[in-house]
Symmetry: C2
Subunit: 207 residues, 2 copies
Amino acid sequence: MNQDSILRSLVADNLVSDPSGARGRLLREAARLFRDKGYERTTVRDLAAAVGIQSGSLFHHFRTKEEILKAVMVETIRLNTALMQAAVESADSSREKLRALIRAELESINGQTGEAMAVLVFEWRSLSEESRAYVLELRDIYEQLWLDVLGALHRDGVLAADPFVVRRMLTGALSWTVTWYRPDGGLTLDDLTDQVVAMMGVKGPGT
Amino acid sequence: MNQDSILRSLVADNLVSDPSGARGRLLREAARLFRDKGYERTTVRDLAAAVGIQSGSLFHHFRTKEEILKAVMVETIRLNTALMQAAVESADSSREKLRALIRAELESINGQTGEAMAVLVFEWRSLSEESRAYVLELRDIYEQLWLDVLGALHRDGVLAADPFVVRRMLTGALSWTVTWYRPDGGLTLDDLTDQVVAMMGVKGPGT
DNA sequence: CCTACCGATCGGTAGG
DNA sequence: CCTACCGATCGGTAGG
């Protein structure tokens, strides 16, 4: 399962909007604007202009501006949960699974869906209570994938630190790359993954 | 030099506002509001109410709302640069200096100035171009303290990964603690510091 | 999806 | 530091 086929399968199940449809295009532009200017500084007029419609027409697709933010976050978590699941399944040992997860998350953060991933990290406060509760549920599933792998490494004595703390540290470290990492800067995503793995205190033989 | 005397010395030099004065109290409340609600969602009326004055009176102290954000950030970096300098000087070996830096930054993020530190991380986009340039200058001095210590460890062969990358990872990991770490949760700041150090691939003998 | 428009709220000002 | 107020802009609506 590559990235494209995973996306297509989610679109078929109506869990993620078709990127080429009106809704999908709006969500992609919204993610970009929300990351660049922040949710609050982005006006409904900005959003409408980005997809070439009038501001009033937005409310044919979404009841409120906040609903757009929620949709960006929900679809992003759904897509990335599927991507992480594929990453876990692609590897055999726990150590390789961890590497695959780190690599996949770095790819999401610094690739095509990077805008939406950044929104997920930085625009949390702009969600309503109800939306927040729902997004958090999805987030728990995503996090459990990580905790399972880290927990296995911990039980095997390969990872000394607490899995929960390690995952929190990784979340911060990896999402922060969006503010400084540039793929064209001589450091490839594989190099970056290596550095993170090297920095993690995962002891023991090299494979 | 403890934290209090460092703060007093900065106040005496007019680099940081007296926390008990009108300006200092406003900046502290502003930091709290900006962290909780975000800069854009915080109105000048919120700010004024928090210190018990009318909204129009704010503009006697600051020309614009953005100037308040800038002041929060500038004073926070100044204070923390002094705190990190003291941390570096308090230790002898590079390894101990790194631990002191990590411990001091965790303390800043999760202590009394935590609100302002979170603002520094999450409200970057709301700064004007000019303010951003100025804050960035101060930030460079702060970062250099870290890079000096990490660079020494790298030259000694204790730290395998690139100092620049390590610092970026640490920035993300440590600042992210503000979203999940609670001092009363059974994990002390010293425990947390231990976990971070353990997670860093700083090889070699235990002292 | 558009036109035309609304009530509310925003940052900031003038004059004291 | 207050009173009184402004122009601009915001999210959202009605009716087509």
